[in-house]
Symmetry: C2
Subunit: 405 residues, 2 copies
């Protein structure tokens, strides 16, 4: 019996470990592989033969793994280049050495490209019995083909709850105090995360990368909202940009002062515009930074469950010996109640594309999102798993495997 | 039978409404007052006779009020000046008009000063049957006399959990990537909130206002940690300052560029120092901003329970007709298990003091907090109340009373 290996790559999420837990659990229930290895720090660690053995993970460890944020196997930003044949050869020979037939690679765009490239390599070199399977994850929700990406629902839930809570905070002060609050989310290329703030129903103005930013239009909108109710709530993606593609976060003043280092993002840029224009007496920026992708105490139950099941489904699909170069995704069924099932698709169809937030889901005048967008997102943030806490009162997380070895 | 009024002031917290809920519930169980009014936006709204009637609040509303963040009655920054006798007279005449005998004022330092000032005024003018009672709240935990302040435990829990989760996030990358992560918390004058990040056991360097900042010493510490394990975790209070009292957040470069507007805080200042010194290839700042004081989905059960009970106790104490000018606080009993009881103290003993984080609880070389500090803080973050969610999957909050009227 051969072995398999799991590795993680790219930016962490609150539920990426649940996919690992799903693969391990599936193999315990239906042992297709003798050993389930974890490769540490993605392709980078696989090339260094840094492995752990996850085969006999206990149920408690499996449960804790599911609630542990970030990549328990470690991540990497290493990009396998198609012209670097040495890397490909080395990966195949390491897999041979450890009798690894299947590699599960959990990640975003780049990881799906890695899966596609490795599959192409083995096919074009007639190398049999080496298979590569992609599992999607990204808080950015910007992978094509899959209805949504594991990781997004939990980030969206945290962002929407935080937006709601911050609205309560800034509105507590009398209307004599005018104030603009700016919530900045991740999303270099796609506005999904900023849009999720609108689930709170408290966002007055939404700025996403998909809609070119116009300063005058924006400031007029802020003025109107302030005139109406003295407080204005703005949600903005870090990747918001002008029509010529310039990011808001790369203003001239910043680059003059800080040289190559860009300090402060889109939120700070908007703040400066508002203060310069004298529209409000106060302006606050909350940049959710990395907390939004790792705040696992508020996982969405839907998200963590789907992430786990996707891992189980990926494992099960490899019972077919021809299954390689595929990504396992989530398909939303056309039912009234929200139901998803897993399916698979060529990883290369996913690798080099970005799924933008649909422009027809954006209301005019930076006015937020449509009801259709709400109905798409709401099921993804639903439910709260029971979190296990340790004796100190903090959530109980497993020690990362990259530290064990 | 006379009436009472409750009002809130100062910066919001995740559990300040639980004190309101406690007073209302206590009066339902033991009706000392015919009506329990809520004064909107603190003293400011009381002077404008903006009231709501909370007397017959339903159990469900009471329960939801306890989990609703920020000030449901609205807050204010209005400071009652002792030489402004007109305000005092007006408050007394409004209380007379509504037959209000007792005012419960929930807030921090300034609010306790208001309680003391109003009590002094009625005493010196021989005005009987007007009483003023303070209930402490501040995420900053910097009030004297009380063992700790309602609001701190929940903020500390959120900060400690976020610190833990962010540590998992930044450590997921290979050790070849050196990185400094800086978590900035509130705390203009006291380091309690930054110190609470150390409950995660993941903070390498802690910078609080109580310990003068030395740039060279700090950078050397960062270098040492990076050399040891490639990632360095810093927690810093917004109020961190040099020995001459200058805040880190008021660096020269910023004021040059932005005029009077201070953009970016202590965290950004540390980031700039680290990047200028070339110590790490990456540096990330997470400023928890207002989320830390309103993230009520992660209330500490201890905190919300104590906040409620403190309200009940304050109400009960006013059965004594001489009870005025007092703040109700929390006393930790000298038992092995954590037990608190309520007590009361002259509000003026609290009004003009700040309780600093004890310097003997700070480890040398910005090394974090002592075991004694941990043992003080850990009980305060314990437990997770069951949160009620609405049909959208977001927490169910009551509509703020200041919007109802």
């Amino acid at each position: 019996m051969s072995n398999c290996i799991i590795a993680q790559s790219g930016g962490p999420s609150s539920v990426i470990n649940a996919t690992v837990a799903g693969i391990v659990k599936a193999n315990q229930l239906n042992p297709l592989y003798e050993h389930v290895y974890g490769g540490l720090n993605g392709i980078e660690g696989i090339l260094q033969e840094r492995f752990v053995d996850l085969t006999n993970m206990s149920d408690l460890e499996n449960r804790l793994l599911q609630q542990t944020p970030s990549c328990a196997l470690g991540s990497c930003r290493y990009k396998l280049k198609r012209d670097n044949e040495a890397d490909f050869q080395k990966i195949i020979s390491i897999m041979d050495h450890y009798q690894i037939e299947t590699m599960f690679y959990i990640g975003g765009n780049d990881s799906m490209d890695t899966v596609a490239a490795l599959s192409e390599y083995t096919a074009s070199h007639q190398i049999a019995n080496h298979r590569f399977v992609g599992c999607p994850k990204t808080v950015d929700n910007d992978l094509v083909e899959t209805d949504h990406c594991p990781g997004f629902g939990s980030a969206a839930k945290f962002i929407a709850a935080t937006a709601l809570q911050c609205w309560y905070d800034i509105n507590a002060y009398p209307s004599s105090r005018t104030e603009v609050f700016i919530l900045e989310t991740m999303g270099r290329d796609a506005g999904w995360l900023a849009a999720s703030a609108c689930l709170s129903n408290k966002v007055d103005i939404l700025i996403v990368p998909e809609e070119p930013f116009n300063k005058e239009h924006f400031l007029n909108r802020v003025k109107d909202v302030i005139a109406l109710r003295s407080k204005c709530f703005v949600a903005v993606s870090e990747g918001a940009r002008y029509i010529d593609g310039t990011y808001l976060s790369c203003g001239e003043a910043r680059s003059e002062l800080f040289g190559h280092t860009v300090l402060g993002g889109a939120g700070r840029a908007l703040e400066q515009m508002i203060l310069d224009a004298g529209i409000a007496s106060r302006c606050k920026v909350q940049d959710l930074s990395i907390a939004q992708r790792c705040h696992a105490t508020e996982q969405s139950l839907t998200d963590v469950t789907e992430s786990f099941q996707l891992g189980m489904s990926a494992h099960m699909r490899t019972a077919d010996p021809s299954f390689t170069g595929r990504m396992v995704g989530l398909k939303r069924l056309p039912t009234e109640q929200y139901v998803v099932s897993c399916f698979d698709v060529d990883a290369e169809k996913v690798a080099n594309f970005v799924k933008n937030f649909p422009s027809q889901w954006l209301l005019p005048d930076y006015g937020g999102i449509s009801e259709e967008a709400r109905q798409y997102m709401l099921p993804l943030i639903k439910g709260t798993p029971e979190i296990i806490y340790d004796e100190t009162g903090l959530p109980a997380y497993i020690k990362p495997y990259y530290l064990v070895r």
